[in-house]
């Protein structure tokens, strides 16, 4: 499977989440390689780890404001930390689901995990180069990061 198609799987998962659950489309920016410095991490990050035929990590990282407005769009009134974590975890869940569907059993995909804080360090394998896919929604900016060998 080509890298482009692999990235497409994860981009589709995120866009589908906005279209279906949030009911308002997000826009994908131009992907770029994060060379020299690690990708920007926002307040909440949902990630999956991949092993098997490919190894690495894929994560969606978003600011609190963006996730709060997403919850509002979903008629949720409780913007607690727990619910913001839940939401970013659900986005990561869809990354996992799409990967399972498109990549099959050659890829072993972890259950999603969530980390918080902008100073979080996400461990990237030294033989990988993170590809950052900007995700813009309303006035907010998030990143989808695909880092596979």
């Amino acid at each position: 499977m080509s890298l482009q198609r692999e990235i497409g799987t994860f981009v589709s998962a995120v866009l589908n989440y906005f279209d279906t659950a949030v009911q308002q489309a997000a826009v994908v920016g131009t992907p770029y390689l994060a060379l020299g410095k690690p990708p920007d991490i926002f307040d909440y990050t949902g990630m999956i780890r991949i092993s098997g035929k490919k190894k690495g990590v894929v994560y969606f990282t978003a600011p609190k404001g963006m996730l709060s407005v997403m919850l509002m769009r979903m008629q949720e009134t409780d913007m607690s930390d727990a619910n913001l974590r839940d939401l970013v975890g659900e986005v990561a869940n869809t990354l996992s689901g799409n990967a399972r569907k498109d990549f099959g059993r050659n890829f072993i995909i972890s259950t999603p995990s969530v980390v918080t804080g902008t100073s979080t360090t996400i461990g990237h394998s030294p033989d990988t180069r993170p590809i950052v896919v900007p995700i813009d929604w309303r006035t907010y900016h998030a990143n989808l990061v695909v880092c596979l060998n």
Partner: protein, 125 residues
């Protein structure tokens, strides 16, 4: 039992956001939500108390996952109807859930309409 509330729904999902979304979204007049659970163990305990006739079941959960919980619920009550709601959209996962006794499968994310259509199908199944 109230004749207009013939179906008793239990919602099982480890995400509070998802449980509340399902609670808010379901608008079938004769369905009463009898409780929510955050994992398979809680669901089994709640089942003993609340006796649901319908269940929405997430798959990826801590403690006890959805597949095992489906199997145990169907073992207790062969007539229970379970709608698996999961982001794991691959065919193998759906088939496994159906083989364990689930009656339907809905992929996350979903719209209100998709949820209600799936619940109606579940009731009519």
């Amino acid at each position: 039992m109230n004749a207009t509330r013939a179906h008793r729904l239990m919602i099982v999902d480890d995400s509070n956001v998802m449980r509340r979304k399902i609670e808010r979204s379901q608008d079938i007049p004769n369905v009463e939500i009898v409780g929510t659970a955050g994992n398979g163990h809680e669901a089994l305990a709640l089942h003993a108390e609340a006796r649901p006739t319908l269940v929405t079941m997430d798959l990826t959960m801590p403690e006890m996952d959805g597949i095992e919980c489906v199997e145990q619920l169907v073992g207790r009550d062969p007539d229970i109807r379970i709608l698996v709601i999961s982001a794991l959209a691959d065919k193998a996962t759906a088939i496994e859930a159906l083989e364990k006794g689930a009656s339907g499968f809905l992929c996350k994310p979903f719209t209100e309409r998709q949820l209600n259509d799936a619940l109606v199908k579940l009731i009519e199944s």
